[in-house]
């Protein structure tokens, strides 16, 4: 059963060939077997998984195709009655009072547990978690990427068949690339953010992390939709994401983004795998050409103003008053300062400081206002590229999985992990990472991007990449 994709397992559950309870038992046992080595989970919920699986098995007919397939959930999504830490000491014993809308949309998920992440989703390695690093199942001495590193590692290790992550600057796609799985960041607003503990509200999006592209389409189907509780969620009809999936890439216009194919820090193998995928798509009938995003080189800088600015506002809520940690002190201001000093880790503090600085009097126009204008330019670049191409192709991350500890003391080196993924967040467009091949035995992800709300085309192209890639999903470690 462990070798099935989520879609295949869902079909078997639907046909009555296997029960959801058996699937939950298998996932629970696998977590027990490997998580001592992988450390993907912050909280395991084996009993909750069994209880929900039994409830689903007892229903007849009235079940959604995906509901019985065991799921791991990033610890940034609120789960009613189940501890939700965000990877932070600030929320060490926090138990939410409601479920995130993405989970409610899914139905009655057979959740096997909550998975590790960089604190408040800020990081590219899970090394910023207050609860220890998650190991890459491909090589336990390396990071799984981040911030959704626990989600990626859990899927790669078969600890649940699929997982939810969140992506603000690449936090679904980069760990998916580093762990050899598929990670999709939907169009901004496609999935409700209600119950997603906010990092940068104009960029955050919940996304599927799965074994293959068909699983990605099915999990997106499960979580997408308008939500009146999230005023930025899109009131746009949800299409059938599986309908066009197998239509092939013949005639599809694919643009290889020249600015994202090289530059400082790009490993030659990563570039080579991406080029090989482009040729493979061309042989499969796609029209491949060169695309340009002239302002993409400014994306990283704009992001590291906009995201921290939103962080400095969003993380103001952690003040020891309504929930989470409180460090007792004499007087309310000292209580705020002491609580936030104790509760936040180094990266969270750095981003709060950076954002507060960029928004402070005298600097606003030079930093925040200028970054918002860069954002406009990046959107215009995409608009012009999408007038010529259906999808754009690039590497997902400039490197394969790196060794634990290799970048912890150099924030700028860590930030550059997201150089190829950030433009899609700034523009709000959907983007997906698909394994394209290997470099010295480690997976390389390639990224596809498409215009707002064109996930059906994006997924069809991604399915095409999967078919020409020299890669097959196998359980690790």
């Amino acid at each position: 059963m462990l070798d099935l994709t989520a879609y295949e397992l869902a079909k078997m559950i639907e046909a009555g060939e296997v029960s959801s309870r058996e699937a939950a038992e298998t996932a629970n046992a696998r977590i027990e077997e490997v998580d001592g080595d992988v450390n993907a989970f912050l909280t395991v919920t084996p009993d909750l998984a069994l209880e929900r699986a039994e409830r689903l098995d007892a229903k007849d007919g009235d079940r959604k195709l995906w509901e019985g397939v065991p799921l791991a959930v990033k610890d940034v999504l609120s789960t009613r009655g189940v501890r939700t830490t965000c990877g932070s000491k600030m929320l060490d014993d926090f138990t939410p009072l409601y479920d995130a809308s993405a989970l409610l949309n899914f139905g009655d998920p057979v959740m096997v547990g909550k998975v590790n992440m960089d604190e408040f989703a800020m990081g590219s390695s899970t090394e910023n978690s207050a609860y220890g690093v998650t190991k890459n199942p491909w090589d336990l001495g390396r990071v799984p990427g981040g911030s959704s590193g626990g989600s990626a590692a859990a899927v790669a290790a078969g600890e649940g068949w699929w997982a939810l992550g969140t992506d603000t600057g690449g936090s679904v796609r980069q760990p998916a690339a580093l762990c050899g799985i598929v990670g999709l960041k939907p169009t901004y607003g496609r999935v409700s953010r209600y119950g997603l503990i906010a990092f940068a509200s104009s960029l955050d999006q919940v996304g599927p992390m799965t074994r293959d592209v068909r699983d990605s389409a099915l999990l997106l189907q499960a979580i997408a939709g308008h939500d009146p509780r999230d005023s930025t969620s899109a009131n746009v009809e949800v299409p059938d994401y599986l309908a066009e999936l197998e239509n092939g890439v013949s005639g599809l216009r694919v643009g290889v983004v020249s600015e994202l194919m090289g530059g400082e820090g790009m490993e030659p193998d990563v570039r080579e795998v991406t080029e090989r995928i482009a040729s493979g798509l061309e042989e499969a009938g796609a029209e491949v050409g060169e695309a340009s995003l002239p302002h993409s080189g400014y994306g990283l800088s704009a992001y590291y103003i906009i995201a921290p600015a939103e962080v400095s506002s969003n993380l103001a809520r952690f003040d020891g008053v309504r929930y989470g940690l409180r460090v007792p002190a004499d007087g309310v201001h000292e209580m705020y300062r002491a609580t936030r000093e104790e509760g936040f880790g180094e990266e969270a503090k750095r981003r709060i400081m950076l954002g507060t600085y960029a928004l402070s009097s005298g600097y606003y126009d030079a930093y925040y206002a200028q970054a918002q204008k860069v954002r406009t330019r990046i959107i215009q670049d995409f608009r012009s590229a999408f007038s010529r191409f259906d999808v754009l192709l690039s590497p997902t991350s400039p490197t394969v999985a790196f060794e634990i500890g290799a970048k912890v003391d150099d924030p700028l080196a860590m930030y550059s992990q997201d150089i190829c993924s950030i433009p899609a967040n700034l523009a709000g467009i959907p983007a997906i990472s698909v394994p394209g091949g290997l470099s010295d035995g480690l997976p390389v992800g390639v990224q596809l991007m498409s215009d707002h709300f064109t996930e059906p085309t994006l997924l069809r192209a991604a399915r095409g990449v999967e078919q020409v890639a020299d890669f097959r999903f196998t359980l690790k470690p």
């Binding site: 104009s202 930025t232 936030r340 000093e341 750095r350 709060i352």
Partner: protein
């Protein structure tokens, strides 16, 4: 490099306690990050409108209708110091 005085000023705006070692390190790291970000100043964007939201949503409203919400005792259950249906805080100085 951001001066120690600036770091302390910004930390105070953010109500964030930092020890002396953190203040020194933060000055250096913020300086390096800001220097790399400076790159965006080279663009002339005088006539470019800013983007706050990629979908250009403005003033999204829903009907203002009463609905069941969390009862007070439940809403207060995660609070560090709930007192008489209220969130208690230390003396406001």
């Amino acid at each position: 490099m951001i001066s120690e005085e600036q770091v302390r000023h910004v930390a105070n705006l953010a109500r964030l306690g930092l020890n002396d070692e953190e203040v020194a390190r933060m000055g250096e790291q913020l300086g390096a990050i800001l220097e790399s970000i400076e790159k965006i100043q080279e663009l002339d964007l005088k006539d470019v409108p800013p983007t706050a939201n990629a979908l250009n949503l403005t003033n999204v409203l829903r009907p203002d209708e009463p609905r069941a919400e969390l009862p007070p005792d439940e809403a207060l259950s995660p609070a560090p110091e709930p007192v008489d249906d209220l969130f208690a805080v230390p003396r406001i100085d």
